[in-house]
Symmetry: C2
Subunit: 386 residues, 2 copies
């Protein structure tokens, strides 16, 4: 397998954009990214698109050639990957694999979702399709309910508190407030977070990520060709996608995402690193409890200690291991299909030293963790400077 | 790149199965296929699923791990590929590429769709999402209308007649009547075909493929390992996926699917064959005109001569180059996401000499052509015996 590098990144702002179409968002991210890489559409050998539910959100399917055509890309394989909220990560995983294996040289990966044209109850219903509709869905369990069960169990097993959950929201809002592309640029206090409207006990509105529109894109090439495009290539040191059962009740322990542990182990092995080498990470905080579980499953802290880890401030912007410096799904926004690719862009931006006010002190090796459903799909990527 | 072989195939019957779920169909095909290959779920290194619109048809998304879990597959990459009616072909293309490149050894590919739980108008609306909804869809052009335009233009440019279109239906129904897994096992006459209820002029109900439920699956491995699993491996000699604009009005000539021509050229080149070497083919006859256009675009006959080619009986079961010996989408059925994988199974069955009453005289090299939308995605595969 050949080493692979990111030579271009492009993102739209994440937010609620009533005047924008899904296609225009994806095209904006794609064009920014091609420009960043100095690559013309005719050089692209394959297009990998992450999208969760375009057909349900905006009534358009067959999205890969639909978007590619508007980018001036025809005559190459254009494929949509769907893996719930890990759709973007899955598209990226398959794209990287194809370049590593020598199938392609210059590949464009994009992720996009346009969610805000639907009402919140309808969005919640569409998102529920990423769970087990015959079981969980039939019982009325939407995603806030599923993650509330995970939170309750984590509290029961490990003594995790509502303050610890809220600390995730407070930290991510503080970061998001400094991110010019974030959906919600608003600092919140611990008091506000704790007093939020209850959505599904113990999760308040501040424990839930946002419903957003947005897109992100990257261009990847074999490392040996990276210098043709940039003097700041970002190397994919390790990457893995893996899976688990969709239904929560089929899992051995709902306080652990086994697929994340597996993917992390494989990605670390491929990168020849261990968890302690990871200087910073963008993790999948679809709910605050998910960030706590992620820091444990990725091996940053022992199982059960993710709550104190965040409450003690150890994952803040200027602390030992910053988590979700971008603001995370919580404050940056969560346009589902874009999220996995957006995380890669955010980690790459840090490694390139271009994160502005959010620039971290240590930024030579970072991680992105993208989760689908309640842990049925996981993609973990380790990125580094050269 | 390593040569790749199919070592197991499995299909459900195609039809209308009100008592079956999408998952049970996919699991049936997957289990049949694993049994045919003598492979256990724990040996599978990756799962590639083709599905067009499960979320819209049955309200379930995140289908790859959802189905994989029921097959006993966890801990490996499980990914859904969506490329409209070429979803199955696209999943197969990416799976074959991964084995060829050395990323995986033993891979399960499945395709599934469950359509008949929706009314025909609703199915037509969901299918329309594979076209350009902002243009074609907004103008009320469903797929029968789009292919009617293609047929009218083909008639205008090449003198193609309604009898020639009907000849596709008559032939495919005759073949389907002999296929125990076909949705519609009914011989029709030319008179019946011509007298069919008009759907979108010049296409009658007999010119349109069926709305079906069904699933298909294959196991692929590197050719060098095929003998561990079977004494009848079917080799993938050539394969390509390519794309074009989604909207019909963006194409230079609507009587030609440029993406099919491109994919065929690439697949022939990879297989070191030309069109004349192809002994038989399963082509994407979503409408009768699509089969005529396919025989031209694949180079079996000159552009414009596809109509006489079928009317003269040259593509019948016992003729020079049998097309859609299985009955095609027209009679075998068209469970959208399953179709591309089903075609691969049908070609492989012929090459193995196991096609029963439908067994062809010459069956050493066959082709499968899978089309997405009105030609925005094309996958062409050349298969051969060893």
């Amino acid at each position: 397998m050949r080493p692979v590098a990111i030579v271009g990144i492009g993102k739209t702002a994440f937010g609620a954009f009533p005047d924008r179409t899904l296609r225009s968002l994806a095209v904006e991210a794609g064009e920014k990214c091609l420009e960043d890489a100095g690559v013309s559409p005719s050089q692209i050998e394959a297009f990998y698109l992450g999208n969760f539910a375009g057909p349900s959100f905006v009534g358009q399917n067959h999205l890969a050639p639909y978007i590619a055509g508007s980018l001036g890309l025809t005559g190459v394989p254009c494929t949509r990957f769907e893996a719930a909220c890990a759709s973007g990560g899955s598209a990226f995983f398959h794209a990287v694999s194809s370049v590593a294996a020598g199938l392609n040289d210059i590949v464009l990966v994009a992720g996009v979702e346009k969610m805000t044209s639907q009402t919140t109850p309808k969005v919640t219903e569409i998102l529920a399709g990423a769970g087990d509709m015959a079981g969980e869905g039939r019982a009325g369990a939407t995603f806030p309910a599923l993650f509330a069960m995970i939170a309750k169990r984590h509290m029961y097993q490990y003594g995790t508190t509502r303050e610890q959950l809220a600390a995730v929201a407070v930290k991510n809002h503080a970061n998001g407030a400094k991110n010019p592309l974030a959906h919600m640029r608003k600092v919140i206090t611990m008091e506000q977070a704790l007093a939020g409207k209850m959505i599904s006990e113990p999760l308040t509105v501040f424990d839930c990520s946002l419903i957003s529109d947005g897109a992100a894109a990257v261009v990847i090439v074999p490392l040996e060709r990276a210098s043709e495009f940039t003097d700041q290539p970002v190397r994919i040191l390790g990457i893995a996608q893996t899976s688990d059962y969709v239904a929560l009740d089929a899992k051995a322990d709902i306080t652990t995402f086994w697929a994340v542990q597996e993917a992390a182990e494989k990605a670390y092995k491929m990168a020849h690193v261990s968890a302690r080498d990871i200087e910073f990470a963008e993790v999948h905080d679809c709910f605050t409890i998910a960030e706590i579980v992620a820091t444990e499953d990725l091996g940053f802290i022992k199982k059960g200690e993710g709550g104190p880890y965040v409450l003690e401030g150890r994952t803040c912007l200027r602390a030992e291991r910053p988590i979700n410096a971008s603001g995370g799904l919580k404050a940056k926004g969560h346009p589902v299909g874009a999220t996995g690719v957006g995380q890669i862009c955010d980690v790459a931006l840090q490694i390139r030293g271009e994160a502005g006010e959010l620039q971290l002190d240590r930024h030579s090796i970072g991680l992105a963790q993208n989760l689908g459903g309640s842990g049925a799909t996981a993609v973990v990527t380790v990125l580094g400077g050269i």
